[in-house]
């Protein structure tokens, strides 16, 4: 599946937007990945972080805007 040029541009544009209000520095390679609470899941997503432990996990933090 090829990303449309339009989507690609949009994705790069978003990547430039900084997030405000995080005191935590970006976690470094080798540190433990913190678990978090899941409120709702779509596409058969996990109901808790513990559910996916033991697999390789790719977490994508995204924004809908």
């Amino acid at each position: 599946m090829n990303p449309s040029p339009c989507f690609r541009r949009a994705a790069f544009g978003l990547a430039g937007l900084l997030l405000a209000g995080t005191a935590q520095a970006q976690l470094a390679k080798g540190t433990m990945a913190p678990s978090f609470e899941i409120k709702k899941a779509w596409n058969g997503g996990p109901k808790s972080f513990g559910e996916v432990k033991g697999q390789v996990i790719l977490l994508e933090f995204f924004a809908t805007w």
Binding site: P3, A25, K29, A41, W42, G45, A63
Partner: protein, 260 residues
């Protein structure tokens, strides 16, 4: 990002990898997003998650190993295939074994993280006459994956011993000692913990890091007023703990708050 993640999801979903899109936005917005963009991988709503990872921009992708360690950060955008393949080598995929009662005790031990029992099961299975050649090969494959994981745990213990975040290392070592009880990793973790408790420098670093965590928890960084107070507290902490890792960490966090 969605097309590439769809591709990764399709390629590796049956091999022990899961892609999860995480957002803290409202349920309505996310439902619309799922409808409009139709990502093939799971999406979850998890307020506060991004703060814990310190993601700096959207989208931000982190790769996490089967043992819960961060393997790649958003600095690499999306992890390369080579990294994913390497990480998958130590994923035990019991789903590859037939849904057969002979594997019940293995599955249950694995789920409960009774890894010594899992190891024992594999050792017995290797000698057992219960399996035909095809099944034997499948079991051997999972055994190899399990051994790979056990080996990576021992390596993790030794890397935890190097610090500098001895507080996080201590918590992780306790976890390893519990989960891998009866296995080499637990023995090594136990020895490392004993070493930590004997080393005066490590001990004082741990207590400083513990205090730092308490300072950080006291304030809500999303409120402007509290952020200012947090920054002040962090700078004060850094001054009092100069020359320690905890002090360094406090100074870094304070600097980051100042950038906003």
């Amino acid at each position: 990002m969605i097309p590439r993640l769809n591709e990764i999801h399709e390629t590796y979903k049956d091999k022990g990898l899961i892609v999860v899109g995480v957002s803290d936005e409202t349920e309505d917005k996310l439902a619309n997003y799922v409808d409009a963009h139709a990502p093939k991988y799971p999406i979850v709503r998890a307020p506060g998650a991004i703060g814990k990872y310190g993601g700096k921009y959207f989208p931000s992708v982190f790769t996490i190993s089967p043992d819960g360690k961060i393997l790649s950060t958003p600095d690499e955008r999306v992890p390369p295939d080579s990294l994913i393949k390497k990480a998958l080598e130590s994923v035990v995929t019991l789903a590859d074994l037939p849904d057969d009662s002979r594997f019940n005790s293995l599955r249950s031990a694995y789920k409960k993280k009774h890894f010594a029992k899992v190891a024992e099961w594999f050792e017995d299975a290797a000698k057992s006459q219960d399996f035909d050649e095809k099944l034997k090969a499948l079991v051997a494959e999972q055994h190899a994956r399990f051994k790979e994981r056990a080996k990576s745990m021992v390596e993790e213990v030794s890397s935890l011993g190097k610090g500098p975040d001895y507080y996080a290392a201590q918590a992780r070592l306790l976890e390893i000692r519990k989960d891998w009880k009866g296995m080499p990793a637990a023995k090594e973790a136990d020895a490392m913990l004993k070493q930590f408790s004997k080393d005066r420098k490590i001990k004082s670093e741990i207590s400083a890091l513990k205090r730092l965590a308490r300072v950080q928890k006291r304030y809500d960084p999303t409120s402007t007023v509290q952020r200012k107070r947090l920054k002040k507290a962090l700078l004060e902490f850094a001054r009092r703990h100069e020359g320690t890792y905890a002090g360094q960490k406090a100074a870094q966090s304070a600097k980051k708050l100042g950038d906003k």
